[in-house]
């Protein structure tokens, strides 16, 4: 009997989980069996289950910005835009990040179709920015520009400047170095502004006389580049008064009262009057100064080789014109090929 009870008790002890005793459900309600693990936080982004959460979040943000801007522009009566008004808008030159750079930004692989979709959204936003800017709504345009700046390349200016002519550089003395070629000749031209002498500088700062009409003069002695001093070519035999009847204007000033500047042109260290005995060649070289109206404003030193006199004078003309255009950008259109309306 005892053995059977012991055996039964032992069996019951080992099988405590499959107890035969009845426990009413109400007693089981407050049992603390063990703690549940703390719930894990849910993913942050609503596009988590696409697998490309960063990309879709940014794309949706751009689409949202696009929608809001469109409704704002519709309220401002700028959209929809007629074809005529569209033609009046300045051209767009966007330079977006490359597919690789954008993938780096999004920390995930970016397929070509996704990249194209992203760029089309950027282009749409860029169009709205241009419209807002042109119509004078600068705050809106600036906000859009801030969004678009995140996706533009860092070296945007460098890329847009490709293919354009490099601007001519000025050295520490204020000289430009330009090159001209014609037929078989090459000219290397240095152009520098003429320096005012100290008396002229003082006179210019204190006097109220109108601008002196300059004239072309050539110097006989070869002066070393770059410094040039102005020689006084005043003709002393002429009367000191202006034409009677003119109280003001250029004709009221007598020739003796006019200070003239000279443009000194040295070619291969020889004054150009000696280098080019032919009048046509000399006229060709001086023409850029005449057209620009800047005779006496600059001095020129040039090295020319190759070809004959016509080729060399043509090469010099081009080099001088480029130099003048670098010093005075406002006269550049006048010096362009095709500007034939000015007859001199």
């Amino acid at each position: 009997m005892n053995i059977a009870k012991k055996a039964a008790g032992g069996a019951l002890r080992f099988r405590a989980y499959a107890t035969a005793a009845y426990v009413p459900p109400a007693s089981m309600e407050n049992v603390q069996r063990g703690r549940l693990p703390p719930p894990k936080p849910k993913p942050e982004s609503p596009t988590f289950y696409t697998g490309r959460a960063t990309y879709y979040d940014q794309l949706l943000a751009l689409e949202n910005a696009s929608k809001q801007t469109r409704s704002a522009l519709q309220q401002l009566q700028l959209l929809p835009l007629s074809r005529f008004a569209q033609q009046n808008l300045p051209p767009l030159h966007p330079v977006w990040k490359s597919q690789v750079d954008l993938a780096e930004l999004m920390e995930a692989k970016l397929t070509t179709s996704r990249y194209r979709r992203f760029v089309s959204q950027l282009n749409q936003l860029n169009q709205y920015r241009r419209l807002a800017e042109v119509a004078g709504h600068l705050a809106l345009a600036e906000r859009l520009q801030r969004v678009l700046d995140m996706f533009e390349r860092e070296n945007k200016e460098a890329i847009l400047a490709r293919g354009k002519a490099k601007p001519t550089k000025f050295d520490e003395f204020g000289r430009t170095y330009t090159v001209g070629r014609r037929k078989e000749s090459t000219a290397r031209v240095w152009v520098i502004r003429t320096q005012l002498s100290p008396e002229e500088q003082a006179a210019a700062s204190s006097s109220t006389t109108p601008a002196e009409p300059p004239q072309v003069q050539t110097s006989e002695s070869p002066a070393p580049p770059p410094a040039q001093t102005v020689e006084d070519p005043i003709v002393h035999s002429a009367p000191a008064v202006g034409i009677p009847g003119f109280e003001s204007g250029p004709l009221s000033i007598g020739p003796t009262q006019v200070k003239v500047h000279t443009t000194n042109i040295l070619i291969n260290n020889i004054p150009f009057t000696d280098y080019f005995p032919n009048v046509a060649d000399r006229e060709r070289i001086v023409r850029p100064f005449r057209v620009a109206g800047l005779i006496g404003a600059f001095n020129v030193f040039a090295l020319v080789r190759g070809g004959g006199s016509t080729g060399q004078s043509g090469a010099l003309t081009l080099g001088i014109a480029k130099g003048i255009a670098a010093h005075a950008p406002e006269v550049e259109p006048l010096l362009r090929k095709g500007f034939t309306s000015l007859k001199l």
């Binding site: 407050n30 049992v31 603390q32 069996r33 719930p39 894990k40 936080p41 849910k42 993913p43 609503p46 596009t47 988590f48 289950y49 696409t50 697998g51 879709y56 949706l60 401002l76 009566q77 700028l78 007629s82 005529f84 008004a85 009046n88 042109v134 119509a135 004078g136």
Partner: protein, 306 residues
């Protein structure tokens, strides 16, 4: 500037007969050159653009003024195509006629009808299966109950609609549910649930709850692999099943037209409204628990061992 003049002219015109109204309106337009067609002058300075904007605003105000004397049906009080997207129906307000109007009863060709779909089919007509909306409506409301219940317990719900027209639908449905709503508008990448470590990284797979609590499919046929993944990961699913699909692929089928955008917008809108209610319930319970915890002092709990 010419608006008061115009209003006076309009009021007097309204009192006259119809033909004289038209004549006086025409005369008014001719007299006020600012309401004439915008001339095509080059737009150079911002001032030109400002003038363009002002002219268009004036023309719009003219139209708005005369709209008051037209039909009483306006843009605000008539049905617009975007209403199904932005004005969702509540689960308690859904009607058979709304489902019918959205074209939910059009099934696929009768030759493609799945034998397991027969209980939900009304019959065939013109070569296509007509879905019985008397079955659809209670199943839809049941699905809404499921969504509300899951959301009320803090569950995460994913709306999957992988067509171009369904993209904005699922996005808005997820937005309505706040932090508990997610959406997949593009292709479901295989392995999202079954290959989470590779997909999301070991840290995310370990620290965050990657497997959702409920997934709603607006177009189940292209997403059959996603449905299979949900089954493998024991995730309950709701889906719009058409007549060529076995309704048992999802846990809570909604027999309806899966090709209609309006039907999908109606159903997802309804489910997301139910979800929003569930989220509100969840927040309320959380706030209540927080208040109760802050009011009562903390007591040590007794451990009862079985």
């Amino acid at each position: 500037m010419a608006l008061p003049l115009l209003r006076r002219g309009a009021a007097s015109a309204a009192r006259c007969s119809r033909s004289s109204v038209q004549a006086s309106v025409v005369v008014n337009i001719r007299q006020n050159s600012s309401f004439a067609k915008v001339e095509e002058t080059p737009l150079e300075a911002p001032e030109d653009w400002t003038n363009l904007q002002l002219k268009r605003a004036e023309y719009k105000s003219l139209i708005d003024t005369f709209s008051e004397y037209g039909s009483t049906q306006t843009r605000d009080n008539t049905f617009q195509p975007h209403h199904t997207l932005h004005r969702p129906v509540a689960p308690s307000d859904i009607t058979l006629s709304a489902l019918l109007a959205s074209g939910a009863h059009f099934g696929h060709s009768h030759t493609r009808m799945n034998p397991n779909f027969v209980p939900y089919a009304y019959g065939t007509r013109a070569g296509i299966t007509i879905i019985d909306l008397d079955h659809t409506l209670p199943l839809l409301r049941r699905a809404a109950q499921v969504v509300r219940g899951v959301a009320a317990r803090g569950g995460s719900i994913v709306f999957v609609g992988t067509r171009a027209d369904l993209r904005s639908t699922v996005r808005l449905a997820a937005e309505r549910m706040g932090k508990q709503g997610y959406h997949v508008g593009e292709r479901w990448l295989p392995g999202t649930l079954t290959n989470k470590v590779h997909m999301f990284g070991p840290d995310v797979a370990r620290d965050e709850q990657v497997v959702p609590d409920l997934v709603v499919f607006l177009n189940p046929i292209p997403n059959i692999h996603a449905i299979r993944e949900c089954a493998l990961e024991h995730v309950p699913t709701i889906g719009i099943v058409d007549s060529n699909v076995d309704p048992r692929v999802v846990m809570y089928p909604i027999p309806a037209n899966d090709e209609s955008t309006r039907t999908a917008e109606l159903i997802s809108g309804l489910l997301s409204v139910a979800g929003r209610e569930g989220v509100a319930i969840y927040h309320e319970e959380q706030a209540k628990a927080a208040r109760a915890a802050s009011r009562r002092p903390s007591r040590p709990r007794e451990q009862h061992m079985a």
